[in-house]
Amino acid sequence: MDDYLVGVLSNIGIISFVALSAYVLLLAGEVSFGQQAFFAIGAYAAGMASAMLRWPLAPALCLGALIGAVAAVAVGRATLRLTGLYFSMATLAFAEMVRIAFEIFTLQVDIGGSRVGPNGPDGFGDIRYLFENEITSIQYLCAIYVLLAMVLAGFFMLERSRAGRMLRQAGTDAVLAELQGVRVVRVRLIAAAAAGALAGLGGGLYAHLLTYVEPGNFNIMLGVHSLAYGLIGGLGTAFGPVLGVLIDIGLLESSRLFAGYRMIVFGGLVAVLLIVRPRGLLDERAVHRISTYVKGLFDALAARRLDRSLRRR
């Protein structure tokens, strides 16, 4: 594979984490404009752990996810009582505060004769773990997709569990869910924690891939894009947000098909798509239809096998 393709695929994998993070909260019925904040926090935390404290990659990534989750719970405690636009605005305000805080935040240490660490608006460079340990970009790409596959498997199990049903219930009709004994605010808080961890993990991966991050990477554009991915790809399954990322980054940004006019085409496409399918391509109905079809295939297969074994007797 050439380097360009590897870069694009890595990017798609990493942005999928933020998109999934926004998707979890969408399922819980809250529209967050602020998941980029936890992405940023994860990026800085994991980067600082590996570049300044010389931690290995895995614990550094875990630290990023953990701090993302803790920050999300702290913010969620204050904001999850709010609903609708109030919640969206509160998360946006928080995310912008985080971004500006990173513009001010400077903390550098001396490592091997050079200053390493976040340096305000100049960003945070020299997160060189991958170079120092001779991890190739293909190996890193595999690591990203293994993690993403694990997350998607987690979603797959969640959707079939009681917890997953409670999550969707809280998102579809909070009052009804409450009446049926679902503690909506608690479910949402757990969802927010999971979303924070996902974004934090993605941020850690992002920082190590680029070796350099700056506060401007984590502005409102990233937040609204990650929301849009879920809505384009579909809210019926966790593959929806990934599909959304694939369409935007994979198809439009990378193919240079509409060079210069990309956003005009993409914007119009999204607007028209949402008119036809307000809950995305893979919405609940489509997912249901596909899963019934697949189930039907398996049933037919099983019936044929049974038939054959009966005939043999």
């Binding site: 305000a93 928080f94 912008e96 001010i104 409102i220 006019y261 607007a271 949402l274």
Partner: protein, 299 residues
């Protein structure tokens, strides 16, 4: 002391443009119950049209102003048709994301039309600041304040003394009930949307003429400033939007002179966060929310 008063006066004048932005936002949110993220970019499209025409045709300030307003109104109509009209009341998210998609479209179209990052915008008044005792007033800022006051007055008259305004207020109160008593809700909402976009155009012209320049970042700037001012004042409240805009202007000017531009933005967002978490109704919205909650309880 003189600095304090001078900063407050400057803040009120800057805030009057925020107030206009918030006024347009609140009109759209009040009638639609949905957020128009493309509001700032709509205004930017108008402003780009104005500066394009002034560079190509060399027209004066007043025709430019007219072009900006008409341009913003037309783009607003496009946004309404594409992102709001096709959806029912329920699809809050779809409208929002769709308006974001249109934002991307407008931004790219603007940069394609004028590829330079910084474009000169014809200034309105270039005379020296007016001195009044120890205080100075920029003439274009004074004009901004006056225009904002006039526009707010006209909007008030339109809302409370015309049939159209009655329609808008019924839609804001209860869209379905309004439909049932025969209010042409679709048309009222469209007109309110276009009106709001034109108000945004007025604000955009005054701001761009005051700065003497326009960049592709203007869309995001206008959307965020209008949103903060609207939420500070109280969602969907017209006097709240005006008050929120003025408050934001005054606070920002003081914060900037004390701590610089980074901390200014930090304080503006921090204030919004605090208001939302502790006092979600905003400055003037609390009574309305309390009333709605009481109605909910009784039902």
């Amino acid at each position: 002391m003189i600095d304090l008063i001078q900063n407050t006066l400057d803040g009120v004048m800057i805030g009057s443009s925020y107030a206009l932005l918030a006024l347009g936002f609140t009109l759209i949110f009040g009638t639609m119950r949905r957020l128009n993220l493309a509001y700032g970019p709509t205004i930017m499209a108008g402003a780009y049209l104005g500066t394009y025409a002034s560079l190509r045709l060399g027209i004066g300030a007043l025709p430019v102003a007219l072009l900006v307003i008409v341009g913003a109104a037309l783009v607003g109509l496009y946004v309404e048709r594409l992102c709001f009209r096709p959806f029912g009341e329920g699809a809050v998210m779809a409208s929002m994301i769709s308006s974001f998609a249109v934002w991307m479209q407008i931004e790219e179209a603007a940069t394609l039309a004028m590829p330079r990052h910084l474009n000169a915008f014809p200034p309105l008044i270039t005379s020296a600041p007016i001195a009044l005792g120890p205080y100075f007033f920029r003439a274009d800022h004074l004009l901004m304040l006056i225009v904002a006051a006039v526009v707010a007055g006209l909007v008030y008259l339109a809302l409370y003394h015309t049939r159209f305004g009655l329609g808008v207020r019924t839609v804001i109160d209860h869209r379905r009930a309004a439909e049932l008593v025969g209010v042409p809700t679709e048309r009222i909402m469209m007109l309110a949307f276009v009106l709001a976009s034109s108000i945004g155009g007025i604000a955009g012209f005054l701001i761009a003429a005051g700065d003497g320049q326009i960049t592709p970042m203007f869309g995001m700037w206008a959307t965020t400033k209008g949103l903060i001012a609207m939420m500070l004042g109280g969602l969907g409240s017209v006097p709240g939007a005006l008050l929120g805009g003025l408050a934001l202007g005054v606070i920002e000017t003081h914060a900037q002179s004390l701590f610089g531009p980074q901390v200014r933005d930090l304080i503006a967002w921090g204030l919004l966060f605090a208001v939302l978490t502790f006092w979600p109704g905003g400055l003037l919205g609390t009574r309305r929310i309390a009333r709605a909650a009481a109605v909910q309880r009784r039902m």
